[in-house]
Amino acid sequence: MKEKSARNIIITPATNSRKPRRGNKPGKRNRYAIFFLAPYIAGVLVFWILPILFTFAISFTKWDGFNAMQFIGIENYKHLFLEDGRFFKSLFNTVVIMGLSIPVTLVLALIFAYILSGKALYAKRFLQLGVFLPYIMTPVAVGIIFALLFDQHYGFVNRILMYLHIIQSPLPWLGNEWLARITLAIALIWMYCGYQMILLMSGMSMISEDVYDAARIDGANTRQVFFRITLPLLKGVLVFVVITSLIGGFQLFDEPLLLFNSSLSGKFPIGGPDNAALTMSLFFYNESYTNFNFGYGAAISYMMFVVIALISFVSMKIMDRGDRL
């Protein structure tokens, strides 16, 4: 085949050399391609496209998963937006928890990355590992650890704070609406700081030493080097970290579930006190798999999809603009 097309090119040098190839047993190449792609396409169809369509279909029904589906039109969506306050509450919770955790995680990760990228630092590897370790911990363990640490009566955190006379009486960390959100944010910061640090460190290691040398000769001090050289050159990594954090934030599920509903702290409803830690994923899970409202759950998941798509679109626009700057 190769020889044939080569000959064609020689014979018709002035015309588009790809033209003859197209007439050469049309479809044969495509058939091979489809054959090799088939397993993947089958997987996508069965596990992606069908569930997406099926979910969309059942979002217009009332269905508990066992009995017959009942078509109810846009009732689920109406209930979601107009009657059930939990949807907007869960959206609000998710945004608040992200707002509390993402900026702090990023700043801390940046500080750790900057310090631990320093050349002559004692026990550098050990410290890197120390910051990174929480990330490889399973959320179950994190939930239990934080439930223990922040327990109102036996928790370590309250004891320390009282010992240091910062607080007079134990704080109900897991029992108060805002304290619960803060506790959850602290757990998230602790978990993801190391991961972001590693990403930022790899970004920093990509910056040429010569650029720093040039900046020193140009007269920049440490602060100017950081803010005018390091930080702008980390923009790509920062954008990546922020976008993945945002997307991850909307999928926040296991940490709040386990923090407030593990065997140790099982005294709270599923979203924590007064649904303060009811994230969108948790709301969806609760409706679908605890209350068996699959139709309603499907409507929630579609709304989540819209929100995440919107966020991704906006972030991509920002990234695009950043590239052109």
Partner: protein, 375 residues
């Protein structure tokens, strides 16, 4: 005044790697000085010590008479051009060039004037709003030079600035750098491993090896009077030929004796100084252009003719390189394009012993200073 004085400069990297030792150099104001040597000879380390990017372990560095050992780079009144240009990737060309002036809080109008003037000189006015990634290697090079120029520094430090360019561009940038030096009337300290760059650009060349200075001299003197076999071999392209033999004397005078050949020094080159080395092994150094294969030269240098086998003959256009072999010794000759010698031929070649160099085979130092002939 921006004369640079380096006294007994030493650089030791922990734990005990000595990169530079006993480095003494006086650079007069407005000179173009080239530090040249093979990779790892310490030339870049010296430059970085002058820049203040590398701490000086021992010795004194003075710029314009002022002790600079502990002075931070920004206060040394220097500018540096890096091998890979080290432009700030996130800034436009204009910003790259104006960054140092902004940090110094130079008024905006003045910044604009200086950047535009430098851009005009370097012919990069059209590129001022581009980012480095949208520039070719040559253009980046100009921006890097421009960034140094706007500072109006007393000293320009250039670290192999042409090594990332292709051969043609490198040749034209060499000329431009020479012109730029004349125009700016500033001290240039230029580091390169390329002897052609050193020879064509340097007013004064410092040849380095293993952290030590081998010779400081003008290009012509380095070529004509290398102080040792290393300098002799490093400067010049193709490289100088070295032949190990014995310096002997017979009724026709001093000559080099090899296994089968005897080649005589001309009368005017013979001198009492040779007496001391008589009968001892020495290393003979002959530049490729001092080996001839034409009839006239074979007659002229009849006392220094050897037989050789042409292993390869390379036509370079205006000249021909002959790679010769004789008794296990390899020689390169640079002859005229009219040569009749071809690959595989057995030929006779004559050596102009009047221009030959002698070195001590032990310490490689040049024997005699050729006083009898040149001075």
């Amino acid at each position: 005044m921006a004369n640079i004085s380096l006294k007994n400069i030493r650089k030791v990297y922990p734990p005990d790697v000595t990169a530079v030792d006993g480095f003494n150099l006086e650079i007069e104001d407005r000179r173009f000085v080239v530090l040249v040597g093979p990779s790892g000879c310490g030339k870049t380390t010296v430059l970085r010590m002058i820049a203040g990017l590398e701490e000086i372990t021992g010795g004194e560095l003075r710029i314009g008479g002022q002790l600079m050992n502990e002075v931070p780079p920004k206060n040394r009144d220097i500018a540096m051009v890096f091998q890979n240009y080290a432009l700030y990737p996130h800034m436009t060309v204009f910003k790259n060039m104006s960054f140092s002036l902004e940090l110094r809080k130079v008024p905006k109008a003045e910044i604009k004037r200086r950047v535009e003037e430098a851009a005009r000189i370097l012919d990069i006015e059209r590129l001022l709003h581009r980012k480095p990634k949208a520039l070719s290697g040559g253009q980046r090079q100009r921006v890097a030079l421009g960034r140094a120029m706007v500072r109006e520094p007393a000293v320009f430090l250039l670290d192999e600035p042409l090594s990332n360019l292709d051969a043609k561009l490198r040749a034209s940038m060499r000329t431009e750098l020479i012109k730029l030096h004349r125009r700016l009337e500033t001290t240039f300290v230029y580091v390169t491993h390329d002897q052609t760059e050193a020879m064509t650009m340097g007013e004064l060349i410092v040849v380095m090896k293993d952290g030590f200075i081998q010779q400081i001299d003008t290009p012509q003197n380095l070529y004509d009077r290398p102080c040792n076999a290393f300098v002799a071999g490093f400067i010049g392209n193709p490289q100088m030929n070295f032949m190990n033999g014995v310096l002997e004397r017979d009724e026709r005078g001093f000559h080099m004796a090899f296994a089968k050949d005897r080649i005589y020094f001309p009368k005017e080159r013979q001198g009492g100084w040779m007496e001391a080395y008589s009968g001892k092994p020495v290393k003979l150094g002959v530049r490729p252009e001092d080996i001839y294969d034409d009839e006239a030269s074979l007659d002229k240098y009849g006392d220094a003719v050897i037989n050789a086998h042409v292993e390869v003959s390379e036509l370079m256009g205006s000249e021909v390189y002959l790679y010769l072999e004789r008794e296990g010794m390899n020689l390169t000759a640079r002859v005229g394009p009219g040569t009749t010698s071809r690959t595989g031929d057995k030929v006779k070649v004559a050596i102009d012993m009047g221009k030959a160099h002698l070195f001590d085979p032990e310490n490689e130092n040049a024997l005699s200073d050729r006083q009898g002939k040149d001075d």
